[in-house]
């Protein structure tokens, strides 16, 4: 006997929205990478992305009409991340599960990733969110401000302060000038 899971309507929710699967398949990798930059580990990144997609599911038709599903998903991701940080959830990452395994031929990559996450960990949550949205998700200052619910001026201020902190982070200057290939 074989079994598979079939997606059926949820109580109170519509069935799988048109175009939702295509979006998830096309964008989940990019969203997860943003989640990794925000949280520093894959399980939390998955939590973040799934939370955002679950929030988008019942509103999908409206979001696609507004041509803004990804902006909405990123907004939910950032706000969820900021809420987790307020609850100090990042302080409880267990030591038993390592984010990834280091193999001999990728030590340099692992070192680079660890240096990057360590540098991002030095940033306050809102500065970190601005770095991810502006410089990784390639959002404009206005889009970043809309996602974070703040002014464009505040985004500029967060970005400036974040860059100043990252400048002093060990190993990051070398990475920014192209020290390690992916």
């Amino acid at each position: 006997m074989l079994a598979s899971v079939e997606v059926l309507p949820v109580d109170g929710h519509p069935s799988e929205p048109d175009g939702f699967r295509d979006f998830v398949e096309a964008r989940s990798s990019a969203l997860l990478r943003s989640g990794w930059l925000l949280t520093g580990d894959w399980p939390s990144a998955e939590d973040l992305v799934q939370t955002a997609l679950a929030a988008a599911w019942p509103r999908w038709a409206t979001l696609t009409r507004q041509d803004a599903p990804e902006l909405y998903v990123r907004k939910i991701m950032v706000n969820t991340f900021l809420r987790w940080r307020q609850r100090r959830w990042t302080g409880e990452i267990a030591t038993g599960r390592l984010p990834e395994h280091a193999y001999a031929d990728v030590f340099a990559q692992i070192d680079a990733r660890q240096a990057l996450i360590a540098a991002l960990d030095r940033l306050p949550a809102r500065q970190r969110a601005v770095v991810v949205l502006r410089y990784f998700a390639d959002q404009t200052e206005a889009q970043t401000a809309a996602a974070m619910g703040c002014s464009v001026g505040a985004v500029k201020s967060h970005a400036s302060k974040a860059l100043a902190r990252l400048r002093d982070a060990p190993g990051l200057a070398e990475l920014m000038t192209g020290g390690v290939a992916s």
């Binding site: 006997m1 074989l2 079994a3 598979s4 899971v5 079939e6 997606v7 059926l8 309507p9 949820v10 109580d11 109170g12 929710h13 799988e16 939702f20 699967r21 998830v24 989940s28 990798s29 969203l31 997860l32 990478r33 990794w36 894959w42 399980p43 939390s44 990144a45 998955e46 939590d47 992305v49 799934q50 939370t51 997609l53 679950a54 599911w57 609850r87 100090r88 959830w89 302080g91 409880e92 990452i93 267990a94 038993g96 599960r97 990834e100 395994h101 990733r113 990057l116 770095v131 502006r134 410089y135 390639d138 860059l163 400048r167 990051l172 990475l175 920014m176 000038t177 192209g178 992916s182």
Partner: protein, 453 residues
């Protein structure tokens, strides 16, 4: 953007890795199910149904369809996921008896000698009730251990009552009365991100000392002194799994079973010989042996559960769950197979009555925050911990017998897992974490009497 900003953007794109797996629509659907379930009743545990608690606890995987009605199906409870069945013919996969020469055996000469951190019969610290502790939880040890790594000596052996766990860089033997680490030996898991506990059989504690590519090596330590007792190099069929979660187990006769690529190798712990190999149609992510020792269950891919009759070496069932990820951390009980699927908040413990995933039921929510919820079978009950609830369940029916909420400290979750009942004393132990208070260690528990049936 100025030059520095462009450099930062370029570096973020270059250094940020690709994710190990994608999020699927099914993942999101399961998330919605969980939210819907919590919104309806706020219950994170299955509800019990009266009148079904007296089903037998035989050794076979007797049909336990009643369990499906007893333990809430996470998907079906919210109407989002339902099992669809189709018939497939069974194929047999006889085990290949291996000649001793196909395994290499050695006794490690360079292994680090064990050390004895404490020989005192007095506890280093007095037992300390854990704040808001449920089930009378008391901390008897304040060392950080690897999640899901606690194991106990088997009944009838000379290691009666001993506890073992992995600590960073060590395999520790723990005095179950004082909580003191009485002996330790250098040890680092070859697969640090995945739960794999020590396996105690006879007078020896066995661990994985190599598990990568085409290399699987088991190392045994004397259960009392932790002196090296030998190694077994196991031939691998193809490559080992990249998601090995619970790949070493022991059978009732003490033989060791280890996943070795697309095969399960059976090792005689006395002779250190690989005595049998069972070919599996896929890389084995996890395995379990039924309590009677007559059946083997393996999880492959993402994921299929296959059960074998070990006496005749025939496949007796095969079923799959479109979970988007591998199944792992299998345990076998009289009623079927338990295991985990997913990671983080989507990690769930499932129960497949009669080893058939078409009747699978989900018995816990995900724990999140990098914590694991790995089921254990000890003291006649199945234990499911994590950061939300600690539960015991009937191994025959899957029915949750008792559960209690795991408290939070300053809003941050605490963790109880790897529940183990010591043979002989019957005392119940769990690994505990409280990140807010920076408390870690081994806790004793006094579970509800309902857990003992």
């Amino acid at each position: 953007m100025n030059t520095e900003e462009r450099q930062l953007a370029e570096m973020l794109h270059r250094v940020t890795p690709e994710p190990p797996r994608r999020v699927t629509v099914e993942d999101v659907a399961f998330r919605l199910v969980g939210e819907a379930g919590q919104a309806r009743g706020g219950d994170r545990e299955p509800r019990l149904r009266r009148g079904l608690g007296s089903l037998g606890r035989g050794r076979g995987w007797a049909p336990a369809l009643a369990a499906a009605a007893v333990v809430v199906v996470a998907g079906a409870s919210a109407g989002i996921a339902t099992a669809m069945s189709s018939r497939h013919g069974h194929t047999t996969s006889p085990g290949d008896v291996m000649t001793p020469s196909s395994a290499s055996v050695s006794t490690p000469a360079t292994s680090a000698a064990p050390s004895q951190p404490s020989t005192s019969t007095e506890p280093t610290w007095p037992p300390e009730p854990i704040a808001s502790g449920m089930w009378g939880a008391e901390l008897i040890n304040r060392q950080s251990f690897t999640q899901a790594s606690l194991a106990a000596g088997t009944a009838g052996g000379s290691l009666y009552g001993s506890l073992y766990a992995f600590a960073p860089g060590y395999l520790d033997r723990i005095n179950p009365v004082t909580g003191n680490v009485v002996t330790q030996v250098s040890y680092t898991s070859p697969i640090p991100g995945f739960p794999n506990r020590p396996v105690v059989t006879g007078n020896t504690v066995w661990v994985l000392s190599s598990y990568s590519g085409s290399s699987v090596v088991l190392t045994g330590y004397n259960g009392k002194t932790l002196a090296p007792a030998g190694t077994v190099t196991v031939p691998v069929s193809g490559q080992v799994s990249s998601a090995p979660q619970g790949v070493l187990a022991s059978g009732q006769d003490g033989d060791l079973y280890v996943a070795a690529g697309s095969a399960v190798a059976v090792v005689n712990p006395q002779t250190h010989q690989v005595i049998k190999r069972i070919t599996i149609p896929g890389q084995v992510n996890s395995l379990a042996i039924a309590p009677g020792g007559e059946k083997l269950a393996v999880a492959i891919g993402a994921f299929r559960l296959i059960a074998y009759e070990l006496v005749t070496d025939t496949q007796i069932s095969s079923s799959s769950l479109n979970s988007g990820g591998p199944g792992g951390n299998l345990i076998a009980t009289s009623g079927g197979i338990w295991g985990t699927v997913g990671v983080g908040m989507t990690e769930r413990v499932w129960f497949a009555p009669n080893a058939n995933l078409s009747n699978v039921v989900m018995v816990s929510q995900g724990v999140g925050a990098g914590l694991d919820s790995v089921p254990t079978f000890s003291g006649g009950a199945v234990w499911i911990g994590g950061s939300q609830r600690l539960a015991c369940a009937d191994p025959a029916t899957g029915q949750v017998l008792a559960s209690t909420a795991i408290p939070t400290d300053k809003g941050i979750v605490e963790y109880f897992g790897s529940v183990t009942v010591a043979s002989g004393s019957g005392r119940t132990y769990a690994l505990y974490q409280n990140q807010a208070a920076q408390q870690f260690g081994v806790a004793t528990l006094t579970p509800s009497g309902a857990c003992w049936g």
